[in-house]
Symmetry: C2
C-alpha cells in the first residue's frame, strides 16, 4: 500500500528501463531518499502502472527497471471534464488537486467576465504548466495511474464552438438564488460516457454568460446553500458521481 | 442578496432590539464599516432570520432594531451529524467550515488512536470554542440561519455508548482499500430524518476501531480513489445528500 509511486510518461513495457522526469527523480532521491535497489511503482499517466526497482540514481538522473504490471486505483466509468473559471491566487491550484483526486478526466480552464486574470497573464505565469504538475502530484497521492490533461485556457463564452474542449452533456452549475437551475433529481439518470461540469468564478456568472451557457447545456443547482467558489467543483463532482452511480 | 448578515442568539421577535455579540459588533463596525441607519440582516442560529437596521453603534456595542422575518437558505430535510476525527493543525477548521457550508446539523469531534492530539490539549487550546466561531462565520457566508452545534470532543471508541452524540443510522467512511466498505448503491435509499457520518484521521482507522465502528453502524466507501483526509467529510456529505435526494 505505502510503496512510493512515480510518474514516467515513457513507462510502457515490463522489462524495459525508464528514465524519470527531473521533478520525479528529485522527489525520489531528495525527498524520499530512495536509492539503487529500492522497490517503487511507476505509472505512465495513461492508465498503466508497474512494479519497479531503482536501477541507477546519480547526478545524470534516476533510471527504473520496470517490473510486473499492477493495478492502480480504478478510473470512473464516466469521463467528466471540469470546465472551471480560473479562480484567484492559489485557489485554482486547490481546485485542480481536488478534481484530480475525485476522478475527473480533464480540466478546461475558462475565463469569464468576472475572472480576475487574462489569457496572456496565465501564459506569462506558465500557469497551465503549473496546474499540470499539480495534476501529476495529485494523481500520485490518490492512487490514479491517469494524469488528466489540463487544456489551454479559453475565453467564455467561446469565440467559436470548437475552442472549448467540453464533451456533451454540459452541466452548468449556477447559484441556488438563480431559480433557473434544476436540482440533480431533474437530471436524466441514464449514465453518459462523457460529461462536462462548468463552474463559474468567485463573483458567479454574468447574465449574458448564463444565457450562453443555457445554449450549451443544462443549468443545475447543487443544494440550497451558497458554496465557496473553490469548493464548488469538488462538491458538484461528488454529487454527479453519486447521481450516476459511480460512488 | 448582498446585505450583510449578523448572528445574534437573542434575535427572536420582530420589533425588538437586540445587542450583537462582541465579535459580530466588531465585524459590523470595523470590517464592514456600517453604522446607524444601515440595513442588515440578523439570524439567531436556530433558524430564524430577520431584516434589521443598525439602531446604535458605539463603544458599548452595536444594537439592531429587528424588522420583518425573512427567508434564510433552506435547511436540509436530513439532519446529518459529522463525527470527525480531529485533524492536524488548521485542517479541522476547514472541515468545520465546509461541513457547515454544505449543510450538517451538528459536528461531533472524536479522538481515535491515530489522532495526534488529546482531549486535554483541545480543552487547553479552547479548540471547541474556536470551531464554534468558525461555524458561525461559515453560516454567515453560506446563507444558513442555523449554526450547527460543535459537541464536546470524545474518545473513539467511546467509553460508554451515551458519550457520542451520533444519531442512527451511523455510516462510517473507510478507505477503498478496505474491501469491507460498501458503495452508496448498497445503502438503503429510504430517506432517514437523521444520520451520522463518521470520518477518520489522516492515518485512517486502526483495525480495532473499524471493528468498533462496525458494531455502531455500516462501513461505506466513497469512490475508488484515496481522498485527502480534510476533503473526505465534504465529499462524503455531498454524496450522502445526493443519495438521499437533498441535492
Amino acid at each position: 500500500m505505502s510503496v512510493a509511486r512515480f510518474f514516467a510518461p515513457a513507462a510502457d513495457v515490463s522489462g524495459d528501463r525508464v528514465l524519470l522526469p527531473v521533478d520525479e527523480a528529485e522527489h525520489l532521491t531528495r525527498v524520499l531518499r530512495l536509492s539503487v535497489g529500492d522497490r517503487v511503482r511507476v505509472f505512465n499517466g495513461r492508465g498503466a502502472e508497474f512494479e519497479a526497482v531503482v536501477d541507477t540514481a546519480d547526478r545524470s538522473g534516476v533510471c527504473l527497471h520496470i517490473g510486473a504490471p499492477c493495478a492502480p486505483a480504478p478510473e470512473p466509468r464516466i469521463a467528466i471534464t471540469l470546465a472551471q473559471a480560473v479562480l484567484k491566487s492559489d485557489k485554482m491550484d486547490e481546485v485542480v488537486r481536488d478534481a484530480v483526486m475525485i476522478g475527473v478526466a480533464a480540466i478546461q480552464p475558462i475565463l469569464s467576465s468576472r475572472t480576475e486574470t487574462s489569457i496572456d497573464a496565465l501564459a506569462r505565469g506558465r500557469r497551465r504548466e503549473r496546474w499540470q504538475r499539480i495534476a501529476v502530484s495529485s494523481a500520485k497521492q490518490c492512487g490514479r495511474a491517469v494524469v488528466p490533461p489540463i487544456h489551454e485556457p479559453q475565453p467564455f463564452p467561446p469565440r467559436s464552438s470548437s475552442e472549448l474542449r467540453c464533451p456533451q452533456p454540459v452541466l452548468v452549475l449556477v447559484e441556488p438564488a438563480l431559480s433557473s437551475g434544476m436540482s440533480l433529481g431533474g437530471l436524466d439518470v441514464a449514465i453518459p460516457d462523457t460529461a462536462t461540469l462548468m463552474v463559474g468564478p468567485e463573483g458567479g456568472w454574468s447574465a449574458e454568460e448564463v444565457e450562453a451557457a443555457s445554449a450549451l447545456g443544462s443549468l443545475i443547482t447543487i443544494g440550497q446553500r451558497t458554496l465557496r467558489a473553490d469548493a464548488m467543483g469538488l462538491v458538484a463532482l461528488a454529487a454527479l458521481f453519486t447521481h450516476w452511480r459511480e460512488f
